[in-house]
């Protein structure tokens, strides 16, 4: 019933608010049945030449920005009848129930058409996604096994080991409802995923995916994929739920009561409630750890903020004082965090944070809010402001000043709140953070914010974190709570 139309009409662009979308729109996903091959986000067919980079322990270094993984497209799963019926139903509905169209994680091994950044250290490899959800996976390469009593999650629990130059990632404990591919092939909680990442040279990587699920498949489903390095392009901050007009328009395309669409009635119209943090353990005593090779301070660890409210108010211009007063009078009803939008670079959530450190880049991950990340580039790169002039968390460059990591961040939008009381800022915000680890158990960050549009003078304060030994970040998918999907 799809109509096609060619419009050749003189038009004048204007800003209005229509809220209609096509049922075909799927949050960036190709449609089921779309032509196979390398789509617009897939990058070059052949990556740049050069030798395979290696980590200090001699293992391949997977670090880099990679294009969306392209599938071979010719390996179909051998599904059990109940699973095949679900896939047929999804196809008949045009994929309207797809999680990705609702900004919920697709779940591995689904390959989005966007970039993925690998961030590798000898004991931990991070997979940082540009989209559909701007989240991360952690592959522990430390000899550990899957913990017992795992809670099912969208991304599962991943433990990895090296087989020669191939990183073998073993993942279990998946949330049953998620869509791990575009067809919506169902899976059970016993699904077992093995991903084998093999960086062949500087610019090319192969990936072999094996899905075993005796409750849904008649045998292992093996998929071979390739990707290429994107040396000249940086990942953007993809905030899927910022302007997603699809969910309200996909109802008509499905009648399934068990679908995500069916759960839209459970949506929390007032937003997600504040998280209840666990009590942080007492920070351990000991000297400041240092990188054994370079001697620089090692900021790595899982950190818990000691306070989430800022100690004072910025000195606001009258216009921004008015914005702040309005937000306070509104008692947080329009708090972006309640609707799963990013906290930005200044605001902290009570759930833990994690720092992972390389010599040329530092990753700051957070458990709560958007379950996302910031990256601090230490390699004197020029911030690509032409591609991302206004993001929630900005573009961050870092450098060491003795034992202090100085991070300078620009490229903000004006949408995030500086804390839960609604302190505003403008898109002219310029943030400088000075990270200091005076001993093993403490991290102090001195923040100085200049904002010529919003503040009459720079605003400075210090935030403290304590180390939480033995803690690990848990998966937190705000959108799934907001939509009542669990």
């Amino acid at each position: 019933m799809r109509k096609n139309l060619t419009l050749f009409v003189v038009m004048a662009v204007t800003a209005a608010c229509l809220t209609l979308a096509t049922a075909q729109d799927k949050g960036g996903a190709p449609l089921p049945g779309a032509p196979k091959g390398r789509g617009p986000g897939r990058g070059a067919k052949k990556g740049p030449a050069g030798p395979l980079p290696r980590l200090s322990d001699g293992k391949p270094d997977l670090t880099g920005v990679w294009n969306g993984f392209g599938g071979s497209g010719n390996d179909a799963p051998n599904m059990q009848p109940w699973a095949a019926k679900i896939v047929a139903d999804h196809r008949a509905a045009g994929g309207a129930e797809d999680f990705e169209a609702r900004c919920l994680p697709g779940g591995p091994p689904r390959a989005a058409p966007y970039h993925t950044s690998f961030f590798a250290t000898p004991k931990l490899v991070l997979m940082l996604f540009e989209g559909n959800t701007h989240m991360y996976r952690q592959f522990f390469v430390d000899g550990s096994s899957h913990p017992k009593d795992l809670k099912p999650t969208f991304y599962g629990d991943s433990r990895a080991h090296w087989n020669g130059d191939t990183l073998v990632v073993d993942t279990v404990s998946f949330f049953e409802k998620s869509w791990y591919d575009f067809a919506g092939t169902p899976h059970t909680k016993d699904m077992h995923l093995t991903e084998e990442f093999h960086r062949i040279d500087y610019g090319n990587m192969e990936m072999k995916v094996t899905i075993e699920d005796p409750g849904a498949l008649n045998g292992p489903w093996v998929i071979n994929r390739t990707t290429t390095l994107e040396p000249d392009f940086e990942m953007t901050e993809y905030v899927c739920n910022e302007n997603n007009q699809d969910p309200d328009h996909l109802h008509a395309a499905t009648n399934s009561k068990e679908s995500v669409v069916g759960t839209q009635a459970k949506r929390l119209v007032n937003g997600v409630p504040p998280v209840q943090p666990k009590k942080a353990p007492a920070p351990p005593a000991g000297p400041t750890p240092r990188n054994s090779d370079t001697g620089t301070v090692d900021l790595s660890g899982v950190w818990v903020p000691t306070s989430t409210v800022l100690p004072s108010d910025p000195s606001y211009t009258p216009a921004f004082k008015k914005i702040y007063d309005e937000r306070k009078a509104n008692k947080g009803k329009d708090d972006p965090e309640k609707f799963c939008l990013p906290d930005g670079a200044v605001r902290v959530n009570p759930l833990p944070y994690k720092i992972v450190q390389r010599s040329n880049m530092i990753a700051l991950l957070w458990e709560g809010n958007t379950h996302s990340y910031r990256r601090f580039f230490l390699n004197n790169r020029k911030p690509p402001l032409d591609i991302e002039p206004d993001s929630w968390t900005g573009l961050s460059d870092g450098k060491w000043d003795g034992d202090t990591l100085v991070v300078e961040t620009v490229g903000f939008n004006d949408k995030s709140w500086l804390d839960s009381t609604g302190k505003p800022h403008s898109d002219a915000m310029h943030l400088v953070e000075r990270y200091k680890r005076p001993d093993l158990g403490h991290l102090n960050v001195e923040l100085t914010i200049e904002d010529a549009k919003a503040f009459t003078k720079p605003y400075s304060f210090t935030r403290s974190f304590t180390l939480a030994p033995g803690w690990e970040l848990q998966e937190y998918v705000c959108q799934a709570i907001l939509d009542g999907v669990y």
Partner: protein
């Protein structure tokens, strides 16, 4: 222009043959995909005249998934949207 994810959108006043102006909602692709095709946040400005080829919404509303856009400078660019696989109807 709404330069936001999951897909950018732009809104256009279209004057029909009857002289009436109707506002249309055109959906583009995701920002990362658009960026790689050369789109930028300021590629379309208020007051620009553009031509759009796209796929209509099923519900008959004044919205469409853009397939290609002819920019004010005459460049014809792929819109990066999922509607890009629709059959051409020139």
């Amino acid at each position: 222009m709404e330069w936001m994810n999951p897909h950018a959108r732009f809104y256009v006043d279209v004057m029909g043959t009857d002289g009436k102006v109707v506002n249309w909602n055109f959906e583009l692709g995701a920002i990362p995909v658009l960026l790689k095709q050369g789109w930028r946040k300021d590629s379309l400005k208020q007051g620009d005249q553009v031509s759009v080829e796209g796929t209509l919404a099923k519900d008959g509303s004044k919205s469409a998934n853009a397939r290609s856009v002819v920019l004010p400078d005459g460049r014809r660019v792929f819109a990066g949207s999922s509607g890009g696989n629709g059959p051409a109807n020139q």
